[in-house]
Symmetry: C2
Amino acid sequence: MHNGINQQWCLTSRPQGLIKESDFEWREETLPVPGDGELLVRIVYLSLDPAVRGWVMDVKSYMPPVALGEVMRGIALGVVEQSNHPKFKVGDLVQGLLGWQTYALSDGTGLARLPKDGVPDLTAYLGLLSMVGPTAYFGLLDVGKPEAGDTLVVSAAAGAVGSIVGQIGKIKGCRVVGIAGSDEKCRWITETLGFDAAVNYKTEDVRGQLKTHCPQGIDIFFDNVGGAILDTVLTLINVKARIVICGLISQYNAQKPVPGPFHFSSILTQRVRVQGFVIGDYLDRIQEAVADLGKWLVQGKIQYRVHVVEGLEKAPQAINMLFDGSNKGKLMVKVSDPDGS
Amino acid sequence: MHNGINQQWCLTSRPQGLIKESDFEWREETLPVPGDGELLVRIVYLSLDPAVRGWVMDVKSYMPPVALGEVMRGIALGVVEQSNHPKFKVGDLVQGLLGWQTYALSDGTGLARLPKDGVPDLTAYLGLLSMVGPTAYFGLLDVGKPEAGDTLVVSAAAGAVGSIVGQIGKIKGCRVVGIAGSDEKCRWITETLGFDAAVNYKTEDVRGQLKTHCPQGIDIFFDNVGGAILDTVLTLINVKARIVICGLISQYNAQKPVPGPFHFSSILTQRVRVQGFVIGDYLDRIQEAVADLGKWLVQGKIQYRVHVVEGLEKAPQAINMLFDGSNKGKLMVKVSDPDGS
């Protein structure tokens, strides 16, 4: 299928505001040949995540920015087509930072081999097991420290991470209230996923609704959004509450400095713990999460949904669905067929 | 000395901006007579603390606001002059929320008896042992969790709490950098207290100086101030750093909403833990702190200084010294002589 060609999106300028296709250049190169200790991966699914918006900015963060001219960074899953690497063989299913391209040459660094059996289909990896689910799992359990009876509020609650956070919260005996951006999303998280309540932040009075749905106040806020929603939650936060800062998607496209929450002083008066969380700090513990998530999936206690966009060429446009909320479920690009067609 | 009269400052209006004497009314009442289970305390020293600015505002906090018409709330130390209470006898030294007055009637609730021996003079209690020192002790050790070799930055570093925090940091093997508001204060914390470096935030480039004095970045920030200084520290904060929010004095007199830090996103990217801290949560553990602080005081490892204003009538004016930084050491009002004159 490849005709000896690798197709790539390379970053050529630092986006201002929303990512534009013109921030990238489409390149086609001769398919590289793996040398000693190298392997060639055909990419099947490319993950699109809010964190990508941070990786293209030239600022200090938990990873260096993508350099101009480089293939765009992205987590992807693929199949090994050629290997001169002792640990990987042809046909292996692998995942790593393989980039926005149809093929990736790798020396195996940071590459994880995934089992091919035991999942409903390959989207279960990017959709739940390999990154999104562990993010929800460690962020909520290790940082949020839920106890039965706690009230847990989740922002971007119908998103890939938020939807899993809420379901784990229910498993742990919390009252769970989700904040999402459409009535359809609110119905999905309450009627299908079992959240106790949902607030549509685009049409409803968020503070009033949270007050109604959290009669005992808020013990844990799992935040993917930041901005006005975080500020509102701070006005209803309980003594000794925990706020997990997993994402600040409301400000990723900002073109000028964004103020922190105006109710920052609640952190002092309520003795709140606010803690930043990045899944990269838990890579050596991923299997703990996968074991529980896999069990809950089989038991029907956790559901997920995926939003698959067809074709690598659509990646730069598709990423913005995360920022206008038009995706429904974990966003990914299907780069090639799982069976190799 | 009392002539049968109790003198009091009562709160009569909610201050806008700085506290004004006209927000209070000076009252003189007949000295109350303790009933069954009550005692009468002659106040010797009244503590003036930044937290007072919060207590007079009608907002949700860790204590209800002082009601209009009530005697102003304040921590004070005094001597029992009459007692019908089984646990307290005439001559006992006691401390509690006795208020801005010359005498206080108490039923013993929240009142602690202090030993009269073993301290250089009574100012050692308000100056170190009874509130300020334990605040520094638990805030730094229990929330900040210092390890030897960590870089600790302290704001309001020549203040009552900050000066103790830095000295405990040195005892625990940290590199300690203080931020203060005058060259005299900067000299005091480095030359006398042994801080490694000091930054005068009124005359120096805070970020540039912190960068110079914290070549390994900042692992712990003990913050009494908030605002621009917190924002600057967030740009230099290390991965997994701890920020202890002990006070936000820069905004206590604000008359409109104050934005949180513009570099809030560092909490996410650096996986920082930001935690609010109030000494009231540690009242059952105060003796742990007093034991260590007393030992360090005797060993000459900890020093403190006090700023004593004479006369209860000066309390409303004196409190603002905390906000313009003109006090040098723990601010307190001498209400009567320790020996009862």
